[in-house]
């Protein structure tokens, strides 16, 4: 954890980690059971997938009737259970557990549909690669309401400590190249912008695409700031880059697309950064769906009561309550924190010191905003103090002298407002 410097006058300088050589990748053996999480809420009545159904590695599994949501099995085996899973802010998922069989068989559905790299179509990508490592944003490519005219390939990692994308760039630049040419063909978008940190510039320019350098301090690599500082386009408050025609995709997702067409198989292993209690990092590769506990076993990590297990980076990740939480296509990091290293969150009031305001990259008037949010005045916060301009970097909570959970106040306010708006829309 980076502490405040003695010279507190300076803004905190949180540098993204960079990797020099290609570090070794620790392979986690396939576990006995894996769990795939689909963003689709669980609905027993419409379920297509049956318990005990046999699945092969790389097989696309359609989940529900009248829905094109799918997951891709990362192993060969039998579906052992299908259940509901609730995540942050009450988001509902469908969890598909698969018992792994001894012999692995590769599914050829994708190979059959896709052909080679030259025959790639938008349809195949959309139909087969949404669950590939890095979570390619396939739906954005074909959204008729929001046409995409620029694709930003993020080679830098957006949160601190994470070196996952950097590793992919170092080890698999050819797949990225291939992926980019496929993306160009299938989307018809020629404006591809590569975003890389200083240490990656040389490698990334080998792709022959335009490369832009992103600052090496957090939160420069967050999409909203890349939009503002590199593309020169400011995303309107409350909107996403895709709303103004820009699609963000991670280097890993591009490599997944490239590899899929090259090999005729949907990639099923996810690369992620493991951050141990002492802060040391390792790069790990595991099948999508592997429970985190398998990773800890391989690294001899023991978690104790009141420790914290985080999926994602230290600033924007989310903590989970079970050691068996599975690795997902977008899990770029797993971080464990000892109970003694968990900073205290307090209910102390804001003292108006202004540290958050000086650190906020979005120029929010946080001292006033948080007073409204504490009182539950969410609409006022949105109207008067720019709630929706927040780009969710978490720096305000990081520097808060009172230890207030400001970032969480903001997120829950956005959530409550969206709930109220949906209710209004449905009730007329």
């Amino acid at each position: 954890m980076i502490k405040r410097s003695f010279i507190g006058l300076l803004k905190p300088r949180l540098e993204y980690g960079s990797i020099e050589d290609t570090p070794s990748l620790k392979q986690i053996p396939t576990s006995k059971e894996i769990t795939l999480l689909s963003n689709c809420p669980f609905d027993k009545k419409k379920l297509l997938l049956k318990k005990k159904a046999a699945v092969k590695t790389g097989q696309k599994l359609l989940l529900y009737k009248e829905s094109d949501e799918y997951v891709v099995s990362s192993v060969t085996g039998k579906v052992s259970s299908i259940s509901a899973y609730t995540g942050d802010f009450g988001r509902s998922y469908t969890a598909i557990a698969i018992e792994v069989a001894d012999n692995e068989e590769i599914d050829d559905g994708f190979k059959f549909a896709a052909g080679g790299s030259k025959d790639a179509t938008l349809e195949t990508v959309e139909n087969y690669l949404a669950f590939a490592p890095g979570n390619p944003p396939v739906k954005l490519f074909s959204d008729k309401d929001k046409p995409i005219n620029t694709i930003v390939v993020c080679c830098a990692d957006s949160d601190l400590l994470i070196t996952t994308n950097q590793h992919v760039v170092k080890s698999d630049i050819d797949a990225i190249k291939n992926g980019i040419s496929i993306l160009k063909t299938i989307t018809g978008v020629n404006d591809i912008i590569m975003v890389a940190s200083q240490s990656q510039m040389h490698e990334v320019s080998a792709t022959g695409e335009k490369v832009n350098q992103v600052n090496d301090t957090y939160p420069s690599a967050l999409p909203h700031l890349i939009m503002k500082d590199i593309l020169g386009k400011v995303v309107p408050a409350g909107k996403n880059p895709e709303d103004i025609g820009v699609c963000f995709i991670s280097a890993e997702a591009v490599a997944s697309i490239g590899n899929a067409f090259n090999s005729g198989q949907i990639p099923v292993t996810k690369i992620f950064t493991l951050v141990k209690k002492d802060g040391s990092k390792s790069l790990v590769s595991a099948r999508i769906g592997t429970p985190a506990s398998e990773v800890f076993k391989a690294f001899n990590i023991t978690l104790n009561e009141n420790d914290r297990l985080i999926f994602g980076g230290p600033m924007t990740g989310s903590s989970v309550y079970s050691e068996d939480h599975p690795i997902q296509p977008d899990t770029d990091a797993i971080m464990v924190q000892d109970k003694d290293d968990i900073p205290v969150i307090s209910d102390y009031p804001c003292t108006n010191c202004g540290d958050c305001i000086r650190v906020c990259p979005a120029n929010l008037q946080i001292d006033m905003l948080v007073r409204l949010l504490e009182g539950g005045y969410y609409q006022e916060a949105a109207d008067q103090y720019d709630l929706y301009s927040c780009i969710e970097c978490g720096l305000c909570s990081y520097v808060c002298v009172s230890g207030m959970p400001i970032f969480q106040y903001i997120r829950s306010a956005k959530y409550e407002l969206s709930r109220a708006n949906t209710a209004e829309a449905t009730n007329g």
């Binding site: 980076i2 006058l9 995303v235 600033m315 050691e323 301009s389």
Partner: protein, 324 residues
Amino acid sequence: MADNNVADNKKFIVSHAPFWHDGSRISLRNYNIALAALPAILLGIIYYGMPAVGVISLSISSAIIWEFVFCRVAKRSVTIGDGSAAIIGMLFGMLLPATAPWWLVIIGTFVAVVIGKQIYGGIGANPFNPVVVAIAIVMISWKDIFDFNEALMNYDLDFVMVYPLAALKHLGVSAVDSFSMGDLLMGKQSGGIGSTFGLGLIAGGIYLIIRGIIRWEISLSFLAGIFIAALIFNMTDSARYAGPVFHLFAGYTLIGAFFLATEDSSSPVNFIPMLIYGAGAGFLTVLIRNIGVYIDGVIFAILIMNLVSPLLDKIRPKAIGKVA
């Protein structure tokens, strides 16, 4: 009963991002403020001896006790651990003459802690700097005690025992000539226990600025406001109005710049508002000193600027992506 300690039944802390914190705390800030004020207090104690120790100690302890009592009565969690009450007591004591009677100290800290801070909701909610409110009230109520010339009559130290601002007010600019600027800076002037040692206050202030505990914009613009306003007066009529350097080093100017105007809750946080706030307080100080009825204007100037601080903070940078 099931065994709760089995390996797969561990309970983790499931809280929200960010999972890091820079380790800053209110108590740490306040201890640093106390540290920064120490040189000025020590010199006051060297000059005025045990009475000064008595005033400062009573002020700090009574402020803490008032906070404790109020928190208990109001059934709030007791907040004396954050050091805020101690700082209020300390700063209040620093502004008093060493001869201040015990009851004045106790009334003053009551006003500061209870009326200045707690009734608004405690730390962070006070619209005015509690210390400044308290000193303004006791100063108006018991004028004679704040007549430093009379109060410190029995002291005969190795410097001119006349309160510089009082000399200026009553005797005019010629009286000011007897003070060398070096003496004023070194604390060789009569005044409050902890408010005369200019060099110590500046050093403490610079320390706080570097540590990021007070905001340099406020301190510097306050001093600049005083300097410029005094310079303008001095240039129009140097026979009636003292020079800017004298105003910088006399009275409560330096303690005001680094310890009073910079109080978090009652001052603005945006860049331009901080400059206006500081400069406005500086200007008002000189106006009150030069053409007002009061000898020193720092206290009232800061109070007035506290009042407009929320309004000033409306001047803020545009949030990114803000539509219209």
